[in-house]
């Protein structure tokens, strides 16, 4: 991999080797060109140690004004492509100005590096960590080599993790209650829950639970919000109550947001036996990340559970509820 990168630089061959590369876990990462490559995985406070080898192309010498390696944490907005904002920048000088005739190894070490943010590849924003080797040259332009690596940070299970319980509906038309067992899920977690149908006068065709990711970038007037549906998981086929006829005609042709309802002793609720539909959604198959709040004032990534009921006229009734995603250390999850 590394020599491949070097191949584009005719003047020299630069490769970066991490010390514990053999034992360290690798995870896939998507490059700008859409290719997926494997990159080494680090977490905050780790030492990033390795060797950089620079080998000039045969017979040629490299004159330089100094060689350095930088560890950069960058945020790149796609609407502002090519313009990186470095929130972390550490430099190690490797060599004083001089000439390089043959292959030379430069060990480097960044100790207990503070890397508070996780590597993130979003729709409009990317957060990446990279080692950047620069061979400065005056006139011919510097020779630069990058090496990406991935940072993931783990959280302990939250001490408080309440369930989410809610009654929603449309006046005199639909009244459901749902419950998710937690408000905070780790990435391999399982969402367990139930939906109770208290009153339904709409011919429900099916019900899905969606996991939606809301990525907002920028701030103020320049805020961009991008929402993706990462999972569409069917919870129910058909409806658990009979609807004699469609008594409710919605004004809207589009989606309808279910209003929050206060618990009240409706006659219907007491008369119609409530039916419950189970929820069990394994999160592991989906590519989720932890919730990111206001990363360096640049972007946020939030997750929502969206409960969607679809009626026979394909109208969608939904209620969206934020959940917090966190990354639990692998061995304990």
């Amino acid at each position: 991999m590394n020599y491949l990168l070097g191949a584009f630089k005719p003047a020299s061959h630069i490769s970066i080797v991490f010390t514990d590369e053999k034992n360290r876990k690798k995870v896939p990462i998507k490059k700008e060109n859409g290719q997926t490559v494997m990159a080494l995985l680090f977490q905050s406070q780790e030492n990033i140690v390795g060797k950089i080898s620079i080998e000039p192309v045969q017979g040629k010498k490299i004159e330089h004004n100094g060689i350095k390696v930088e560890l950069l944490g960058q945020i790149e907005m796609y609407f502002d492509r090519g313009n990186f904002y470095d929130f972390t920048s550490l430099v190690r000088e490797l060599d004083v100005p001089g000439e390089l005739y043959e292959k030379k190894l430069y060990p480097f070490e960044f100790s207990t590096v503070e890397m508070p943010y996780e590597t993130y590849n979003g729709v409009n924003v990317r957060l990446r960590y990279v080692l950047k080797v620069t061979i400065s040259r005056g006139y011919a332009g510097s020779i630069i080599e990058y090496q990406d690596f991935v940072v993931r940070n783990y959280s302990p299970p939250p001490s408080i993790n309440n369930s989410i319980k809610m009654e929603v509906g449309i006046e005199d038309c639909m009244h459901i209650e749902f419950e998710y067992n937690k408000s905070k899920y780790h990435l391999k977690d399982v969402i367990i829950g139930k939906i109770y149908f208290l009153l339904v006068r709409i011919k429900i065709k099916n019900m899905d639970l969606e996991i939606r990711r809301r990525e907002s970038t920028g701030s103020g007037a320049n805020t961009h919000v991008e929402t993706e549906t990462l999972a569409k998981f069917e919870l129910m086929d058909g409806a658990p109550v009979r609807v004699p006829r469609s008594r409710y005609e919605t004004m809207s042709d589009g989606d309808i947001i279910l209003e929050l309802k206060r618990k009240r002793e409706d006659d219907f609720i007491t008369h119609q036996p409530s039916e419950s539909i189970p929820i069990r959604l394994f999160l592991s198959p989906y590519e989720l990340t932890p919730t990111h709040r206001n990363i360096n004032n640049k972007f946020s990534v939030k997750y929502y559970l969206n409960l969607v009921l679809v009626d026979e006229e394909d109208r969608r009734y939904f209620k969206q509820q934020e959940i917090i995603m966190y990354r639990l250390a692998e061995d304990s999850s």
Partner: protein, 784 residues
């Protein structure tokens, strides 16, 4: 979704597409299975199962494929794939229907692996299946679950047996699946457009066995004992049945419960089971449900005598009776036929189970009467049919009408029948008596019986329609036969019975009396003869007075008959009675009967043929009478000869007159033997024969037959043999000569019959001559 389109063609297309899709995916799935590619196997099986979602495909085909998949999963776990992982993996499927089918399939393997208690897995499966609420698809899914889990219940003795409460876990699982399936099934009727309700109902009833199978599974769980059945299972099932408020489901499920669970459980839980009945929808055919139950219990009772105490212990009858009352009370608009049918089956039940408890049977009829009261006569043909069935069952059961007669409510029920049916019922009763040769021997019973038969015995008010003669004849014939079946060895009792019969039949009217009177008369005469035979053993006075009473009765009866009028019949009966009176030495009575007969002859019998018959009857009877004193006898004989002489046709007259000769020569040597008058009669007969001959000559130009002469000759020979001194060889010789002359006269037409008659007579004379003894001596002088 076809939505509202619903055109058959469209649907067919959908179906075809569905089948193709299923087959295609099944093919890919097989390929994945063959190459042990789990990921693809899951993918294609999910796709295959998705076809179930979009079409109305019957899932049986898919079920077969799932069998293969299950085997694959099993192999996969043997290859080291963790079943727990597999169980999670299949749940990643985004579509619920394939997900749950796969979950059930893997769940089945999971249970087999025993890596987790069966009950936990089953509980999870049955709970997760709630996600499919589409009625049809849900039903199929759950029936698949039921299918894969059937042999994996944590039943006692099963390899999946769990901890202490293991049976309850098994029961709980099946119950839950049953409950959910039933809900889906019931909800099915609300799917789709309202116009196709009928078709939907048809579809629904085709699917009912999917639901019912759960009950069957429940009944197969070994560990379910009576306690579990009573405390949990039945009440839970019934709760579901009652709460679903659906006619079709309630009827079917009640029937299922009755059919799949053991009889002894039913017996022990009758309260509970019956308690549910009044809570069912009014449109449910409860009578069928209950009658099936009673039928089963009856069969159970019949299966072995050992179970009877159980019935008594739980007081099954009272409970059933109470339940029926409640059901009828709860369903105000139940048709009468239904009400009666219910009681009919209850009656069948009690007859089978408690044949010795007539009070039960009577109670049933009583309850039935209570429910019928206020309705008036039952007109509905269904209902009357049911009543007939109700009333027939005790007859059929006991083959003895006596038992039916003990049921005080029996006639009360019968009163609710309309006239026609009442007759039908009466005929059934009679047929039963006749078939079984039942002897009815007490006056009370006879009275009761005739109460039941009223319909046949009288014209009812307002029944002015022309009744078919044939029908009447048939009915009355059976009544006649019935009268013969009434018997009591004690004459006093028997007389009472006869009296009752008389009272009941006398109002029968013109059409019935000719049929009913004769049997009564003969039945009475039979009694007279029985009394006579008692006479020989003493108690003379008593017998005489009894006999007299009978004759009074007879007189009344025949009198009633003669008023109709059917004089010939009455005459015969009078003569019969007279003869009986003769045998009883009751001269005045005999005389009275004769008088009545003569009066009839004089006043009513005008047809000459009838007169001939009558006169011969009179003569025959009178000849045998020995009770009369000279005066009475003379009067009667005189009258009889007088009648004979007045007959219209000469040959008739001739025959009557020579018959009269017997009146003067009793067979009994102590009786009247007046040879002169005998001869007188015979001579008169000869004269009449001669006159007849003459008349024939005059009117037709040829002399009539000599048959009359030969007949008279035979009479001569008879009296000659009997020793009448007035009949001499000469007189006979003269007569023979006369006959021979007549036969040879010119005007005689050859008559082969007469010839051979004469020849036979001559032969007889010859025979007597050669016979030897005193007779031969007598004949000796006779020259032939």
């Amino acid at each position: 979704m076809t939505a509202d389109g619903g055109v058959a063609e469209d649907e067919e297309k959908w179906l075809a597409a569905g089948i193709t899709g299923l087959q295609q995916n099944a093919f890919y799935m097989h390929r994945a299975l063959d190459s042990n590619n789990l990921k693809d196997a899951l993918k294609y099986s999910a796709q295959m199962l998705s076809e179930l979602r979009t079409s109305r495909l019957s899932p049986t085909k898919a079920f077969d494929e799932l069998r293969r998949l299950e085997i694959f999963f099993l192999e996969e776990t043997r290859r080291g794939c963790s079943i727990i992982d597999l169980y999670e993996l299949v749940q990643h499927a985004g579509n619920i229907l394939p997900r749950l089918y796969l979950l059930c399939t893997v769940g089945s393997v999971y249970i087999k692996s025993k890596e987790a208690p069966a009950k936990d897995i089953l509980k999870d499966l049955v709970e997760m299946c709630r996600g499919v609420q589409h009625p049809l698809r849900g039903l199929f899914l759950r029936s698949y679950l039921s299918q894969v889990s059937r042999d994996k219940l944590p039943d006692i003795g099963s390899e999946y047996e769990g901890d202490a409460d293991t049976v309850m876990d098994a029961v709980e699982f099946v119950l839950q699946n049953f409950t959910e399936m039933n809900k889906l099934w019931v909800r099915m009727q609300y799917q789709g457009p309202a116009g196709k309700k009928e078709r939907r109902e048809k579809e629904r009833s085709e699917l009912r066995d999917l639901v019912g199978k759960n009950l069957h599974v429940l009944s197969q769980i070994e560990g379910v004992d009576l306690d579990i059945y009573r405390e949990t299972l039945l009440s839970r099932v019934l709760e579901q049945v009652v709460n679903c408020k659906d006619e079709l489901a309630q009827y079917y499920l009640m029937d299922c419960i009755i059919q799949v669970f053991p009889d002894e459980y039913h017996l022990q839980t009758l309260d509970v089971l019956l308690g549910a009945c009044p809570q069912l929808q009014p449109s449910v055919d409860i009578k069928m449900v209950l009658s099936r139950l009673m039928e089963r219990l009856s069969n159970y009772a019949a299966s072995s005598a050992g179970v009877l105490p159980e019935f008594l212990q739980v007081d099954a009858f009272t409970k059933l009776n109470g339940a029926i009352g409640k059901v009828i009370g709860a369903q105000a608009d139940m048709p009468v036929a239904g009400v009666v049918a219910l009681y009919s089956s209850l009656l069948m039940f009690t007859l089978h189970v408690h044949p010795d408890r007539m009070d039960y049977a009577d109670q049933v009829l009583g309850s039935c009467v209570d429910k019928l009261s206020g309705i008036g006569k039952v007109e509905d043909s269904q209902a009357t049919k049911q009543i007939v069935a109700l009333l027939s069952s005790p007859l059929d059961k006991y083959n003895d009408v006596n038992t039916a007669l003990k049921l005080t409510n029996y006639p009360r029920v019968m009163e609710y029948l309309d006239l026609e049916t009442n007759k039908v019922m009466a005929s059934i009763i009679i047929r039963s008596i006749l078939k079984n040769n039942t002897v009815i021997s007490s006056s009370n019973k006879v009275e009761a019986l005739f109460q039941l038969l009223k319909g046949l015995l009288q014209d009812a008010d307002g029944d002015h329609d022309e009744v078919d003669e044939e029908d009447i004849k048939e009915d009355q014939n059976s009544i006649s036969r019935l009268i013969q079946m009434l018997h009591n060895d004690d004459p006093v009792q028997m007389f009472k019975i006869l009296n009752i019969v008389k009272n009941n039949i006398l109002t029968g009217g013109v059409k019935r009396l000719p049929h009913t009177v004769p049997p009564l008369v003969f039945s009475s005469l039979k009694l007279v003869r029985r009394l006579q035979s008692r006479m020989e053993s003493g108690a003379e006075e008593e017998v005489v007075s009894e006999t007299q009473k009978i004759f009074q009765l007879l007189n009344q009866i025949i009198e009633a008959l003669s008023n109709i009028p059917v004089p010939e019949l009455s005459l015969r009966l009078y003569l019969q009675c007279a003869e009986a009176a003769n045998d009883s030495d009751l001269e005045p009575v005999a005389y009275e009967f004769f008088t009545q007969a003569y009066i009839l002859y004089e006043e009513e019998i005008s047809d000459s043929r009838a007169q001939v018959t009558a006169i011969h009857l009179i003569i025959g009877t009178l000849q045998r009478m020995h009770v009369f004193g000279v005066e009475n006898r003379d009067t009667l004989t005189h009258k009889a000869t007088g009648y004979s002489a007045k007959l219209l046709k000469k040959p008739d007259k001739c025959r009557a007159v020579y018959a009269c000769s017997h009146l003067f020569w009793a067979s009994d040597p102590d009786g009247v033997r007046d040879g002169e008058r005998v001869l007188l009669c015979l001579k008169r007969a000869l004269k009449i024969a001669d006159a007849a001959q003459h008349m024939a000559n005059v009117t037709r130009g040829s002399s009539g037959s000599v048959t009359l002469f030969i007949e008279i000759l035979n009479k001569y020979l008879y009296f000659f043999e009997k020793g009448n001194p007035q009949i001499t060889v000469t007189t006979i010789q003269d007569l023979i000569a006369l006959i021979t002359t007549e036969m040879q006269s010119d005007s005689a037409i050859p008559d082969p019959a007469a010839n051979s008659f004469l020849a036979r007579t001559m032969q007889y004379i010859q025979f007597q001559k050669q016979k030897g003894g005193s007779i031969s001596e007598k004949y000796e002088p006779l020259q032939v």
